[in-house]
């Protein structure tokens, strides 16, 4: 089978290319450009002044603190789940795969809602936790839990197909050569999936830092305390403080662009070491 080689467009083809470019320009490029234009509408000084605001700095700090815990936890989970699913045969594997994918089909708002149902003031464990003096909803912990749920499948989804394709041959060979568990994981398995892990962590991190709906439900919107960057964008926007809103938004957009650039680079450079077709 021969795959398609792109040809130089002519005639009708330009119509197709033009339609695609116009569409992408309208739906993707224009909103992206407008973020930066709006952010600099009153000049660079006003733009940078937006980050002097202690609330903005607190939001940036909180976002980093959440991602710093949520991403490694989900990466650890992704590794354990992928090791389990790709290297062993056991009953219930299909069900496990379905459950791992489940958070992808949840509305972000539902991913926040469920935590309120469990830990909120009227939640299952709310009253009990209240007596113990522990608060989860409207605190860092709640934001963390919502973020973890939303970004739950990212690393696992990246690793599972790759490790399944790689099979167990190399690990089995390592066993016959006398390697123990630690040597197998560190010397054989991890180097084989390193780039896919980076890729998954990258996407997981982008989503963790940019999550809005789920976090919005559990945050309580206390400025300087429980507002993450996306929530701070909303608060500023609702205050008609557009320059500051777009300034913070431009940081998030920049993060997205850097993520995409690195992702594209990884896809070019290491396409054979990433799970093929599992782009998301």
């Amino acid at each position: 089978m021969r795959t398609m080689v792109p040809e130089k467009p002519k005639g009708f083809a330009w119509l197709v290319v033009g339609a695609a470019a116009l569409w992408m320009g309208l739906a993707i490029l224009l909103p992206l450009v407008s973020v930066f234009v709006e952010a600099f509408r009153q000049g660079a000084a006003a733009y940078f002044a937006s980050f002097q605001d202690p609330d903005a700095q607190a939001a940036i700090k909180l976002t980093l603190q959440v991602a710093l815990v949520a991403v490694p936890l989900n990466a650890l989970f992704g590794l354990a789940a992928a090791w389990l699913i790709a290297k062993f045969e056991f009953a219930g594997k299909g069900l496990l795969l379905t459950l791992i994918d489940l958070p992808f089909s949840l509305s972000p708002v539902i991913s926040g809602l469920v935590w309120v149902l469990v830990f909120g003031a009227n939640g299952w464990f709310g009253p009990l936790l209240d007596q113990l003096g522990v608060r989860i909803i409207f605190t860092y912990t709640g934001i963390l839990l919502a973020t973890i749920l939303v970004t739950f499948p990212f690393v696992a989804r990246e690793l599972i197909p790759l490790m399944q394709a790689q099979g167990t041959d190399e690990e089995t060979a390592a066993v016959t050569l006398g390697a123990g568990g630690r040597d197998i994981v560190w010397r054989v398995t991890l180097p084989n999936i390193a780039w896919a892990l980076v890729y998954g962590v990258l996407l997981c991190n982008a989503r963790a830092m940019g999550e809005f709906g789920a976090v919005s439900v559990v945050s309580g919107h206390i400025r300087g305390l429980t507002d993450t960057m996306p929530l701070h964008v909303e608060a500023l926007y609702n205050d008609y403080n557009f320059v500051a809103a777009f300034a913070v938004a431009s940081l998030l957009a920049g993060l997205a662009l850097v993520t995409l650039a690195v992702k594209t680079l990884l896809e070019w450079r290491f396409s054979s070491e990433l799970a093929s077709g599992a782009r998301r």
């Binding site: 089978m1 398609m4 509305s107 469920v114 149902l117 077709g277």
Partner: protein, 281 residues
């Protein structure tokens, strides 16, 4: 050892280490993060009785919100079906300047935080925005109307279709198409009889991914929607409103209704896809 011997069907023996720790951690983490919270979503809508649940989900405001979320998601995904196919086609078949950049750009909606997309779209389509100002003289209002919801959902759904169809188009056997060409088939006939049947399953997959995402979309919609009850209020927003009134059962009821409806819709789409596949390409 005794356990593995007594339960031979549950687990194939393996010389690789770490099965039990990996299983333990995976199941514990999954339960804590996904299963227990979801159990609450399934259990809690009923705490004031079945009648109360029914009253909540058939309330006219809830029904209007569900209709808007699902209807706009469906239409947006249909629009993206066409435009996504055209975009994928252009990216795979033609070598034009900026192709690689355009290709990389497709993923932007995956990575761009929804709140950022939301305020950008709201500003663009506001009556004094870049696009809104162009449309205003024509009497078209986008921001703060259901049309605004549609625009936002189109913007988030595009990559799903493109990324589903792209690999299939890439692998489409060039010779089949060339054979059709040498047999004298015209362009439209070629597309209809050769290309479309081949990409149809991928189109359906992309459609269902885009649809599922659009139904639950929140951040990119609420800024542009105007959020008027019965008119431009989406279902996820209603959940937020009910929560702010401490109506947990009501919020859970709307959430469960959304989940059940979207699984039902995906089931119908999947059955359709299976029929499509069985008819042969």
């Amino acid at each position: 050892m005794a356990l593995t011997l007594s339960l031979p069907r549950l687990r194939e023996p393996s010389v690789l280490p770490g099965f039990w720790p990996a299983l333990g951690f995976t199941v514990a983490y999954l339960s804590l993060i996904v299963l227990i919270p979801l159990a609450a979503l399934i259990a809690r809508p009923w705490e004031h009785g079945l009648a109360d649940f029914w009253r909540t989900v058939t309330d006219s405001r809830v029904l209007a919100a569900l209709r808007l979320s699902f209807g706009a998601a469906f239409i947006a995904s249909l629009v993206n079906l066409v435009m996504g196919l055209i975009t994928a086609w252009a990216l795979v078949r033609y070598d034009f300047p900026g192709r690689r950049l355009l290709d990389a750009m497709v993923d932007v909606p995956f990575a761009l935080p929804t709140a950022v997309a939301g305020i950008a779209l709201a500003t663009l389509y506001a009556p004094n925005g870049w696009i809104g100002a162009l449309l205003a003289p024509l009497g078209v209002k986008v921001a703060y109307t259901p049309l605004g919801v549609l625009v936002a959902l189109i913007a988030v759904g595009l990559p799903f279709i493109v990324r589903s169809v792209q690999p299939v188009l890439q692998d489409l056997d060039a010779e089949i198409e060339e054979a059709a060409l040498t047999l004298g088939a015209g362009r439209w006939r070629r597309i209809r009889t050769v290309v479309l049947p081949a990409v149809a399953p991928a189109l359906v997959t992309g459609f269902s991914l885009a649809f599922a995402r659009a139904v639950g979309e929140y951040g990119s919609v609420i800024f542009i929607a105007g959020n008027m009850p019965l008119r431009s209020e989406i279902a996820p927003l209603l959940i937020v409103i009910k929560l702010s009134q401490f109506d947990y059962a009501g919020a859970a009821a709307v959430g469960l209704a959304m989940l059940v409806l979207s699984f039902a819709a995906l089931l119908v789409i999947n059955i359709g896809q299976a029929l499509l596949l069985r008819r042969g390409r």
